[in-house]
């Protein structure tokens, strides 16, 4: 009897092992893709509802008066982010009129094509800030495309694409690094990296550069798909120890990055 049970267990484990190998094989040859797409297609509307419910649940406050405060705070944040974008544009107008002229020409000749997308979930990896978007290759999305919020706040980029879905990595993720510059007199260059999904840090700023708090940091456009001038955030503090080769600055993003709902992907 004991031998029989042992054999039964061994058989089941062997069958499960075969099933896993088969699953991996069928996935690698693309045989499972219709099934995966079908599952994703069926679950997508429910996930949208669940995500929106989560957004309301986790973003809401417990006290009634705090709800009002939260709403006011959101309005102020919206105004601040609009002001930052406007400020970035005005700054360009004042200091870089020639570049702006080129930008206008560039924008006229190469109108950005956007694809609106909704966040429907987050990949089940605790160490990453990977959000699932409801747009994929069928909508023209490709790896490396920047994801923006509102009119030009860079929030992430696409790292993986399926037929009807894609994964966006937030700029606060440790795996994210973006070429950037501070909008000051010398356009101080650096690289904005994510810190464990919690904050942003601008590194590799030469010691000779003079940067101040509240200055705006925008993308430098050195990456292939990320255009110049997308707002990343505002300098909140600076660390410039003289023995170091470079300065480091903490960057405050204009929006709460883990409370986003609708974003836009710059297709070209």
């Amino acid at each position: 009897m004991r031998q029989k049970i042992f054999n039964l267990r061994i058989n089941v484990l062997f069958l499960i092992l075969v099933a896993i190998v088969l699953l991996v094989f069928l996935h690698s040859v693309g045989f499972l893709r219709p099934v995966e797409n079908a599952v994703f297609y069926v679950l997508r509307p429910i996930e949208k509802i669940t995500y929106n419910a989560g957004l309301r649940f986790f973003a809401s406050e417990n006290i009634k008066s705090a709800v009002e405060l939260g709403r006011n705070n959101q309005d102020l944040q919206n105004q601040l982010s609009n002001a930052l974008i406007e400020n970035a544009r005005l700054h360009s107008l004042m200091t870089k009129s020639e570049v702006l002229q080129q930008e206008v020409e560039y924008l006229k000749s190469n109108n950005y094509e956007f694809q609106a997308a909704q966040i429907i979930g987050k990949s089940p990896h605790p160490g990453t800030q990977l959000y699932i978007l409801d747009r994929g290759t069928n909508d023209g999305i490709a790896v490396g495309m920047p994801v923006v919020y509102k009119d030009g706040i860079l929030v992430g980029k696409i790292v993986e694409v399926g037929d009807n879905d894609s994964n966006m990595i937030l700029i606060t993720d440790s795996n994210s690094s973006i070429g950037a510059y501070v909008q000051n007199a010398t356009n101080s260059p650096g690289v904005v990296v994510g810190k464990l999904g919690l904050s942003l840090e601008m590194q590799l700023i030469p010691q000779s550069e003079e940067i101040l708090t509240d200055q705006i940091v925008v993308s430098s456009g050195i990456e292939e798909n990320i255009p110049e001038g997308l707002v990343i955030g505002q300098v909140s503090s600076i660390s410039n120890q003289t023995e170091e080769l470079f300065q480091t600055a903490s960057i405050q993003p204009p929006v709460t990055l883990d409370r986003l709902q609708i974003v836009s992907i710059i297709i070209r």
Binding site: M1, L8, R9, V12, L13, I16, A19, I20, L23, V24, H27, S28, E36, V39, F40, L43, I46, E47, K48, T50, Y51, A53, G54, L55, F57, F58, I119, I120, G121, K122, S123, P124, H125, P126, G127, T128, Q129, L130, Y131, I132, V159, E160, N167, I169, D173, S174, N175, L196, G197, L198, D258, R259
Partner: protein
């Protein structure tokens, strides 16, 4: 038949809640893992063969949303289930409240440690372009999740016991 349909629906619900409701609003380890709670429940209620197939389906569905090499989540889920099954059959032989709570806590720790081991393995074998093992507040996060899972298991057990008669104390006898 209806039991199988119910389990399948619960698996989809668990997946949706974990992916779209809990995970998006957390940096690091989520305070609760309802996947582990669900596995604990399965281990408590099912025999080995259906248990392994259902945990296989649970893991396989997670793969759709994962960036890890295909099959990783399935293996992690099945291994967690096997360890919980072993614990129930050999150490926590009483199908009552405390084994259920302890299994939920142990399951949470095992699941996270297996995930961490897989992440480190993939990092050192360059199997992933994105590192997944740098988790903020890792150990405190695992402990918090284990604690919350334990509390949730306690509530779930009492709730199920008041709703059904299947969660009355049972003592396993080795045949």
């Amino acid at each position: 038949m209806s039991k199988n349909i119910l389990i399948a629906i619960v698996i989809f619900a668990v997946l949706i809640i974990q992916i779209s409701f809990i995970e998006p609003f957390v940096v690091g380890i989520a305070p609760i893992s309802i996947v582990v709670l669900f596995l604990t429940l399965l281990v408590f209620r099912l025999e080995l063969i259906p248990l392994l197939w259902w945990s296989f389906l649970t893991g396989a569905l997670h793969e759709i949303y994962s960036i890890m090499p295909f099959g990783t989540f399935t293996i992690i889920t099945i291994l967690t289930t096997i360890v919980l099954y072993y614990l129930l059959k050999n150490l926590l032989t009483n199908k009552s409240l405390f084994p259920f709570v302890l299994m939920a806590i142990a399951g949470s720790i095992i699941y996270n440690l297996l995930f961490l081991a897989a992440s480190v393995l993939f990092y050192y074998t360059n199997s992933l372009t994105i590192t997944t093992y740098q988790i903020p507040h890792l150990w405190s996060g695992i402990l918090i999740q284990a604690g919350v899972n334990g509390m949730s298991a306690l509530i779930l057990f009492l709730l199920l016991r008041s709703l059904t008669k299947r969660f009355q104390n049972q003592f396993l006898v080795r045949k």
